[in-house]
């Protein structure tokens, strides 16, 4: 139990903070650089997912905890992402059908 509950060192905390700052700078940079426009959404999602993972794994020390907690956190998260994706397809699908019906 105590092995699983080891906390990262201050050095790790500082490195994670530096990484979070760099990732945020990259996010804002990608927003302002025109060349990223075609791939802006996936780039931003990947960068924010990386920030999310760093905070959860190290600051909330999920990485050092029992793997059951990773499942407890990750499974509902996957479910939530799946529901959001389904809603996106539903609404975009409805818009497409409405557009096709209007044209026809």
């Amino acid at each position: 139990m105590s092995e699983e509950h080891k906390h990262p060192s201050v050095d790790v905390y500082l490195r994670v903070a530096a990484a979070l700052v760099i990732l945020t700078v990259l996010e804002v940079g990608a927003f302002y650089v025109p060349a990223f426009r075609p791939v802006l959404v996936p780039v931003l999602l990947v960068l924010s997912a990386a920030k999310f993972a760093l905070v959860v794994m190290f600051y909330m020390h999920l990485k050092a905890d029992n793997k059951f907690f990773t499942f407890l956190f990750g499974a509902p998260l996957l479910l939530a992402v799946g529901v959001m994706a389904a809603l996106l397809f539903l609404f975009f699908g409805a818009l497409t059908l409405r557009g096709a019906a209007g044209a026809g």
Binding site: V21, E27, F31, L40, V41, F52, M60
Partner: protein, 148 residues
């Protein structure tokens, strides 16, 4: 359909500073926990107060932003963006406010000598709440502000 719309009103540089502020508050929080765990209550108090202070700064930024948006004609009833924006960021701000009160309570207890390594779990749990607030903002900043 009426404006203002996201690209007309969102201030990315200003919100980027708020994001940095909240990220740094998470760092302060883990430093506070580390200090309490090793029994260094002087730094524990300093980091706890710093976390709460950065949370207050973030809330101040939200107040400024909300006020500016209302003056520019964006309210909860203006359009769908206004409704979802204020509900989402307002709810998040309420959670930050609760977190600030929680942290200040811990800070006062530390000043009274009632917080130490024996009850470091108290600080850890408050830290988990604070990081959750930060993580939600990471998502909001990306999805609402950057992916307009």
């Amino acid at each position: 359909m009426v404006g203002p719309y996201p690209h007309e009103i969102l201030n990315i540089p200003f919100t980027s500073v708020s994001t940095f502020d909240l990220l740094m508050s998470s760092l302060m929080m883990v430093l506070a926990l580390a200090a309490v765990q090793r029994g260094d209550m002087r730094w524990g108090k300093i980091w706890l107060f710093s976390t709460a202070l950065l949370g207050l700064v973030f809330l101040g930024g939200q107040v400024i932003e909300f006020t500016e948006f209302v003056h520019k004609g964006l309210t909860m009833s203006t359009n769908l963006f206004g409704c979802t924006f204020f509900v989402l960021t307002g709810t998040h701000g309420a959670h930050v406010a609760i977190g600030v009160l929680w942290l200040l309570t811990l800070w006062v207890r530390a000043l009274q000598g009632k917080l130490g390594p024996a009850n470091a779990m108290t600080v850890e749990i408050s830290g988990l709440y604070w990081h959750f607030v930060d993580v939600v903002w990471i998502i909001i900043f990306t999805v609402v502000y950057l992916i307009q």
